[in-house]
Amino acid sequence: MSQSTPLLEKHVEAGARMMDFAGWNMPVQYRGILEEYHAVRGDCGVFDISHMGEFFVKGPGASQWLESLLTNRIESLETNHAHYSLMLNEAGGVIDDLYVYRIRELEYLLIVNASKIPEDEQWMRDHFADEVTFENLSGLYSALAVQGPRAPAIFRKCFGRDLPPSRNRVLELERGGEPLWVATTGYTGEAGFEIIFRNNEAAGLWDALIAAGAVPCGLGARDLLRLEMAYPLNGSDLSPERTPLEAGLGFFVDLNKGQFVGREALVQQKESGIPTKLSAVVVDGKSPPIRSHYPVVIGDEAVAETTSGGLSPALGTSIAMAYLPTQYAAPDTGLEIQVRGQSYPAHVIKKPFLKKTK
């Protein structure tokens, strides 16, 4: 039996097609995946992301504890700022990728993947430290992502103030006597924000955002949008068997900040050579949409399989990601992707697929 967010009725009302995602009954689309994709690229869309987990970490030992569990440097994260980070196992493999909001000097809000909530919590409790309070309040909080060029205008309409102009800023507002956090973050490559708030505010905020012009968007559009930006999806593009260095996420890993779980393995891998790289692959001509687990072939050798893929509306061709052996990961390397036994020529490009001009 899958779980539902507080917005289930709103989704059904808006004509959503529901599907199971990581044990959650979520909208995959409303009027159409492509229509919703274009709403986000050209206007503004709103996604229910209430399935994602909210962990609250505070106390005098909070910073040091998170520093020991996450790859990015907490010390350099200012209050009211957010950053992307990874939690690794001892072998340097990815348990989860997450966002850390520093909401007070000694208080953090972690936004984790829905599919990993129990595993993340268990891992963190297994590596507990003194003078830290940890609360998994995923069941009490809902979240919405509002994404697209018109998102700042929609924010102004709904909240009567300007959205912070920079990325990765956190703003604490109040809603119904409880805090509501706004972060200028997202998973689409567009301007926009994500808001985290108590469950009983969900329906009202959903209605207000839609009244202000945001288009309801489902997980289908979300997947296409993030794929064009080559943002990884944990469970598809990230796994406990691959390190963030292989995933091309070295920017979010600080090997010089001191000890953290997985660091030794990463240092060792860096010394011995990174064996594979999560690469962006574009099909040269017309092809079926590439999906996950399709073989990637060079000559007669199957060198990898795709971790995710799709037909890019922006590029007009199929795109995919795959952990290619490092010798094949350079841009312009030619290869083939097999779909139902038929080979389609493709080549490696530099990430992301969609080059945004800013």
Binding site: R17, V28, I33, L34, G220, K286, P288, P289, G310, R340
Partner: protein, 126 residues
């Protein structure tokens, strides 16, 4: 939901329009709505022989690939090449320009096991 009365339907949501010894096959309005935005179609090549219920074509939406089954046995005489360039025809005109293939029937008695429009309407209402 549009269900033309001059067509017969398979439980797997293909329609067939019989004209003498040949027939045209596509997918129903209900099927295209369920599949959502179709972004790729692989119509069969002329000469392919299929048996009733066998895979004759593949269409892919943003989310998934789906097999299209031939409602009858026979030899494909034409695939709709327009679908290769414009697979969205399957969504916008499933009973017209979105046809998938034409087939020469080898066993017309198979048509008797297909549903008429009323029976198909009942099938998708369940």
């Amino acid at each position: 939901m549009n269900i033309p009365e001059n067509l017969k339907f398979a439980d797997s949501h293909e329609w067939i329009l019989v004209e003498g010894e040949t027939a045209t096959v596509g997918i129903s309005d209900h099927a295209q709505a369920e599949l959502t935005d179709i972004v790729f179609a692989e119509p069969p090549k002329p000469g392919l022989t299929v048996s009733a219920g066998g895979v004759a074509a593949v269409v892919e939406s943003v989310k998934a690939a789906s097999d299209i089954y031939s409602p009858v046995s026979g030899e494909v005489i034409e695939g709709n090449e327009a679908l290769a360039d414009n697979p969205a025809l399957l969504n916008t005109d499933p009973y017209g320009e979105g046809w998938i293939f034409k087939i020469r029937l080898t066993n017309p008695s198979e048509l008797e096991s297909l549903k008429d429009s009323a029976a198909y309407a009942g099938h998708i209402a369940r």
